[in-house]
């Protein structure tokens, strides 16, 4: 799995942002991870603990939000979760082809000091 690589990306983005802010340390990282991103949360947590060691982000609190796959209906604009491979809008029955969430791996925010 590629959680270590993702953890390194996370750290890089976080340290860049902290530097821009003139902050000394990163105290908290808030992530949004889609259920279809292929990322295992516990593996990512472990990898982040590993790669932040000895950096200004060492010991930072990790908040991870798991995001279920969902589509936005092209016909009626309704947002619905994809359950059991059903891509049909529960309101109007139209079939959606595009996921609007569920694949993301985002660093939403951080807390610095």
């Amino acid at each position: 799995m590629h959680e270590v690589g993702l953890a390194q990306q996370t750290l890089e983005i976080a340290l860049d942002a902290a530097r821009r802010e003139g902050a000394q340390t990163v105290r908290k990282l808030c992530l949004r991870i889609g259920e279809w991103s292929g990322v295992e949360l516990e593996a990512l947590r472990f990898a982040l603990e590993l790669v932040t060691e000895g950096t200004p982000a060492e010991g930072a609190e990790l908040i991870m939000e798991r995001v279920p796959p969902a589509c936005r209906c092209a016909a009626c604009d309704c947002l619905f979760n994809v359950a059991e491979y059903d891509y049909h809008c529960p309101k109007c029955g139209a079939e959606s082809q595009q996921l609007c969430q569920g694949r993301e791996m985002d660093l939403v925010s951080l807390e610095v000091a």
Binding site: L11, T25, W36, G54, T55, E58, D106, L110, E111, A113
Partner: protein
């Protein structure tokens, strides 16, 4: 040394702060933070940045490169042993007189596949990923440098055999092709919904073995349709050649479609 992305650049200067982090014991005196509120002020920084941002940027560069060259790039993904390499060998042979083709092949180790594909008469670059379970846009960029200036109509990228991780990495391709073999069972699309949902084309390979493994075509088609309602489904056998004409037609159509707007654009500027 990488000019595009600084990939051999040293990591962020984290180690310098080492002493600070050793003084971590300060953290225990938690109460202190109240006294030092003014110099320990926490603030929230909103980022909303994708961890894939770097990959996505490089993927867009690849996409621009493909567009500039007028070539059609295909990302072939599957579990190990579904017959991606055999399918490509056959395709390279059958379309040899019609198109200039090249392949980039990802594997953890060995260049066996690149050697096989070169024997089929097209340039091939092996990407050895070491322990990495997928190809990313950066690896493609370097492999394209290795491929050199060869003129190419169709570029096949054979991803690392894996039905999980490759789904998350945009390589800049035009078409995502997921290959599954009849020996894998009809419910593969339901077991790996993420990669199947991202597919433009699902190729069911080894249909010559269908009877031996009691493959139920209707059931499989329905499962693919459930997981990837928008995907084109093709049943082929790389060994016997069954169904391959439909695959070749798809390649011809997509290449034409990709090149068409460019031609129109030129006419306009004239």
């Amino acid at each position: 040394m990488c000019d595009h992305c600084g990939c051999s650049a040293p990591p962020p200067d984290a180690a310098h702060e080492h002493d600070h982090s050793h003084a971590h014991a300060h953290g225990h005196a938690h109460g202190h933070t109240h006294h030092h509120d003014h110099d320990e002020e926490r603030r929230t920084v909103a980022l909303h940045q994708s961890l894939m941002a770097k990959n996505n940027l490089l993927a867009e560069r690849n996409r621009g490169f493909f567009l500039g060259r007028g070539l059609l790039a295909l990302n072939l993904m599957s579990s190990p042993g579904s017959g991606k390499t055999a399918l490509l060998e056959r395709t390279l042979c059958d379309l040899r007189d019609e198109f200039k083709m090249a392949t980039l092949v990802g594997d953890l180790a060995t260049d066996n596949d690149a050697v096989r594909l070169r024997k089929a008469g097209s340039p091939s670059v092996q990407i050895s990923t070491g322990t990495v379970c997928h190809l990313d846009a950066h690896m493609i960029q370097h492999a394209l440098e290795d491929l050199g200036a060869a003129q190419v109509d169709l570029l096949f990228i054979e991803n690392v055999g894996n039905l999980v991780c490759p789904a998350g990495f945009d390589l800049g391709e035009d078409l995502r092709v997921v290959v599954m073999a009849v020996t894998e069972g009809e419910d593969k699309p339901l077991k790996y919904p993420s990669i199947f949902h991202g597919a433009d084309v699902v190729l069911i390979n080894k249909v010559d073995l269908a009877e031996a493994v009691e493959w139920t075509s209707d059931k499989a088609r329905e499962h693919v349709r459930q997981a990837a309602p928008h995907a084109t489904q093709l049943e082929v056998s790389a060994r016997t050649g069954a169904g391959l004409e439909a695959w070749y037609s798809l390649l011809r159509e997509r290449l034409l479609a990709k090149r068409a707007p460019r031609t129109a654009g030129h006419a306009h500027s004239h």
